[in-house]
Every structure is written in C-alpha cells, then in structure tokens.
C-alpha cells in the first residue's frame, strides 16, 4: 500500500502537525510519500526529507501554490493520486479546505478529523461535538482523510534522509486569487502543539484583561486560547478559539479562566491531560471536567497564581 500526505507548512518551515499525520500513516502502514506544495519552499522539502518514515518527498514549487489555494493544490493531488490508496492531510483549515475537494474530483467520499486508525479502511472520529466517538468503515477505492494531530504522537522530525523529486506540473485557476492575509504574530508556542494552554473566556471582560493570561502564559511557556464568546466579543482574534468549531487541543495542562464550559468548548479541550478551572461560579459546568477547580474571582486568582509560579 502507498500513502500520499500533503505537508503542512508556511513555505519556510514544516509544521509539526505533519509529524502527527505521519504517525497516523504509520498506523495504516505502507510506503509514505510527502508532498510539499508551495512557493520558495525548498527548505520545507529538506526538512520533510528528514522526518521518520518518509520514503520520498515530492516538491511542487510554483507561485500558484504559494497560498495553498484549494483549486490549484487539489488538481495537483488529483494528478498524483493514481499511485496511492490513501491521501492524508492534517485536519487544519488548510487540510480541511483542500482534501474534500480532492475527494470529489476523485469521485470518492472523505473522512474529516480522524482520531484513530483501526485498519486501512476503518477509523474512529468524533461526532456531535465529541459527545460520541464513531467507528466508521469507508468503502471507497481511495481513502481521502484529514487527521486530528493531537490524537497521534509525532514521529521523529530528524534522522532520516529521503529523496526529493521536483514536480513541474502547475495548476492555476483563473477564478480565484489571493489578496492578502493577516496572520497573528506570536512568540508563544502554537496552540495545538503547546504543552500548556491557558484559555480565557467571557469572564475576562475585555481584551486588555487578556494581558493577565499572556503574562502567566509567558511564565509557563504556554500558548493562549479562548472561548468563542471571548472571540465573538472581540477580546481576541479568531485563531485563538478552542472548541468544536475552533481548534482541538490536548495539552498536558489546560487552564480555563472565566470559561463556563459549554459542550462546544469542552469538545476542543477535554482530551487535555490535566484540566484546571478558575471560575467564580461554583456551579459552572467546567468544574465537571476539571481535575482541579478553584472557585474564585479570576482578577484575584490569576495575579496570585502568576506570582507563585
């Protein structure tokens, strides 16, 4: 069997989530090819070639692939698909945008956000905001799916030396073009890969008060997340949202501050190893999943906590 994986990257570095997807591919079993599609992304291909388990790297380097436009990258994947039984990507906004498009071009169904591999055709995935875990079997000649990174331990990033082959097919749709992007710049670890996550909710009251969490996070080397209510209220940008429709996180320590614990929020964080909740309402549902609950006003508790770290 052979597996094609679409690498996640920003044209400079390979995103660590690709290593988790490689682990999922390892569980399926087979010869693994990693596709790096981008622009000016030779360095990414070189990093990809070092990852454990990769047999070969395909590099498609062209302006048309610079922003991972689904219209272009899906045609590239379609063109390569003949040689593979499985086509995988991370369940990031990039992977989720591109892979269903590839599947439809191939005339097959796709599985989103897979969190367990039972056999090459049988997988586990969460449904209903994580309130049920379904085991599903897909009956398609090709299995196209996105992988939830936090559900698989990453393979080693280095120590390997796969070959790199340049591809020269360029697909460029006239119907879509990239205009601009506003990417959050942060020195903190990436939310889905951080060992510790500190998240704030509506209880923070405004955007400035998130500084309390940023300061604590910096002491802990943590990433900062948020509930949807905090994002909707404009306290913080959308890329910080944790939950059913935001990011899935599973850190060793998750500290929820001023978050009530709606099922949609829990869906994104309840696989964390240790959960701490700080909330002034002792009835808040978040306490039902917290290993350590502190009933307190966050404006007293957070500064005190930070001082004692």
């Amino acid at each position: 069997m052979s597996i094609l994986i679409l690498a996640e990257h920003d044209n400079q570095t390979l995103k660590p989530v690709t290593l988790n997807v490689l682990a999922a591919a390892g569980e399926i079993g087979g010869d693994i090819t990693l596709l790096v599609a981008g622009h000016g992304c030779q360095a990414v291909a070189e990093q990809a070639a070092q990852a454990a388990g990769v047999s070969r790297v395909l590099l498609a380097d062209a302006p048309a692939y610079a922003h991972q436009l689904a219209e272009n990258v899906s045609k590239l994947l379609l063109n390569l698909a003949d040689d593979y039984e499985h086509i995988l990507a991370a369940a990031t906004t990039t992977g989720k945008n591109i892979l269903p498009r590839v599947a439809a071009l191939l005339g097959v169904n796709t599985l989103t956000d897979v969190l367990g591999v039972e056999s090459p055709k049988r997988f586990k995935r969460a449904i209903y905001a994580g309130n049920a875990i379904a085991t599903v079997e897909i009956d398609e000649p090709k299995v196209v799916m996105t992988i939830r990174g936090t559900a698989f331990d990453p393979v080693a990033a280095t120590g390997h030396n796969a070959s790199i082959t340049q591809l020269d097919q360029v697909y460029e749709s006239d119907d879509v073009s990239f205009r601009h992007e506003a990417l959050a710049a942060s020195d903190r670890p990436e939310l889905t890969a951080a060992r510790i996550v500190v998240s704030g909710g509506r209880g923070l009251g405004n955007g400035e008060n998130f500084d309390l969490l940023y300061q604590m996070a910096d002491k802990l080397g943590a990433a900062v997340g948020a509930s949807r209510a905090a994002v909707d209220a404009g306290y913080v940008p959308n890329d910080m949202q944790v939950g059913q429709t935001g990011k899935m996180v599973a850190p060793e320590l998750y500290i929820a501050v001023g978050i009530s614990g709606a099922i949609q929020h829990l869906a994104g964080m309840k696989d964390s190893k240790v959960i701490v909740a700080i909330n002034k309402d002792e009835e808040a549902p978040i306490f039902q999943v917290a290993d350590y609950g502190l009933v307190a006003d966050l404006f007293d508790a957070v500064p005190e906590l930070q001082a004692s770290l």
Binding site: T93, N109, I127, A132, N238, V274, Y292, G293, V295, L305
Partner: protein, 250 residues
C-alpha cells in the same frame, strides 16, 4: 443575482446527545431538532444580500425526509423566497449530497452558493468543498466576511493562523463561519408568510442522482468520561497540587 443556500436539519445545539445502550448509534428519539447553526448563518447572509439589493432571489435546498421541511420553512421565514426538498429516507454520504446540489445548481444557475462550513451532528466540514469541485468553481470556506463587486466576490476566511482574503469569480461556493453574521429571529408575520411560500419536492431520481452511503457506521461509543476532580481552597493549594501531584509544572 440568484443565491442557492443548502441547509440541514440537525440536533439542536443545546442538546447533549447520548450514545444508545447497544452502541449502534446515538439516540435521537424525542430530541429537539433545528436548523444547523452554520446553515442559519448562510441563510442570513443571503437575506442580507437581498436586502442590500445585491441578490434578487434566494432558493433554499435540503436533502432528507419530510421533517426537514420544518427547517426549510424556518429558512423561508428568515427571508428565502422558495424551497426545494430532495426526498430521501437513507442517510446520504457527503458526496451524494454534493452531487444532488450540483444537479440543482446546474438547473438553477445560481451566482453564489452558500453553505455552512460544517454540520454540528457529523462535524464533517466537507460538502461545500466537494460541491465546488464537482462544479469546477472556486471556493471560499470558513468565511467571516463576504463582499460583492460586480461578478467578483471578496471573501475573508478564518484560517488557523488568522485571516486570509481571496477574490473569487462568480459563480462561486462560500461556506460560513460563526462570525460572518448574527442571524435574526423570524418574526411571527414572517413565519405565517413562509407557510405560503413555494416548497417543491423532488426525488434524487428526478435529478438523475443516486444516493449512496459509502461510509458505514460500525459502532458508536461514549467519549472517555472525565470525572470531576477536586476543588482546591486557594491558589497556594492549586500550585502545590500542580507541582507535586499532577507534576505538570516545575
């Protein structure tokens, strides 16, 4: 300009679903059903475009058995002009849904197709992308802002790193994220008016599509239960526990 909006009947988002005792599926008996929140946002966006004079007609489509007419009526009450239900008793897979919608789009020739980015039951996030592929049209998923200028669409998308803005030539497919808009509540007069708006029913065969289910549900299990831990009495106790018991901080 004509807009096609695809909508789905799903469990109400406030309901916490339970797994059936025999673990064959989740238990949906007597559970409150509603319009999928992301689909509601899609309908709202279409209605706003009509109110701005950009769109002239809004068609809503749903695929399912008779009860999903309830959600089509909701969409009509929110401001859609007419509805189409494509009748099926089997649970279609996403590719079948996309194929049905593609056929409807071929006949109706909409300039813009709006869908929710995911339904909160299967949590898939794929139908819009598949539909765009079948139609060979551009897509803008996870939209938080849509602007229209002639036959050009400018869409801002919520991506993992922040926001990305694309230009698309219509016809195009857009899937909605939560922050695109805040849907209105249907007023009583509009709910009454919606009952008289046209609602057509077709079969997949009428459209020349067969519905399949290539993804078989083998079993369903409840997620690993987390039990509530302990309440600590002070910040000092919390720090002590995190250090010495959980050993997650230094």
């Amino acid at each position: 300009m004509k807009i096609l909006v695809a909508v789905k009947r799903v469990i109400d988002y406030n309901v916490k679903v339970r797994v059936k005792a025999d673990r064959t599926d989740v238990d949906l008996a007597n559970v409150k059903m509603a319009l999928n929140p992301f689909c509601e946002i899609a309908v709202e966006e279409a209605v706003r475009l009509k109110e701005q004079g950009v769109a002239s007609e809004i068609l809503v489509v749903s695929i399912g058995s008779k009860p999903c007419e309830e959600q089509l009526r909701t969409a009509l009450a929110l401001g859609a002009d007419r509805a189409l239900r494509v009748d099926t008793d089997v649970l279609p897979d996403a590719l079948s849904v996309a194929r049905v919608l593609a056929k409807v789009a071929e006949t109706e020739q909409p300039d813009l197709i709006l869908l929710g980015k995911q339904s909160i039951d299967s949590d898939n996030n794929q139908t819009g992308q598949m539909l765009a592929a079948l139609l060979d049209r551009p897509q803008a998923t996870f939209a938080s802002e849509v602007k229209i200028d002639g036959d050009q669409l400018q869409v801002t998308r919520e991506v993992d790193g922040g926001l990305q803005t694309l230009n698309l030539k219509m016809p195009a497919v857009v899937t909605t994220d939560l922050r695109l808009n805040e849907p209105r509540y249907a007023s009583l007069p509009n709910i009454m008016k919606a009952k008289k708006k046209p609602l057509e029913v077709k079969t997949p065969a009428d459209l020349g599509v067969s519905i399949s289910s290539q993804i078989k549900l083998i079993s369903v299990e409840p997620p690993a239960e987390r039990s509530a831990g302990i309440k600590v009495g002070s910040v000092a106790e919390l720090v002590e526990k995190l250090r010495n018991e959980a050993k997650v901080i230094a």
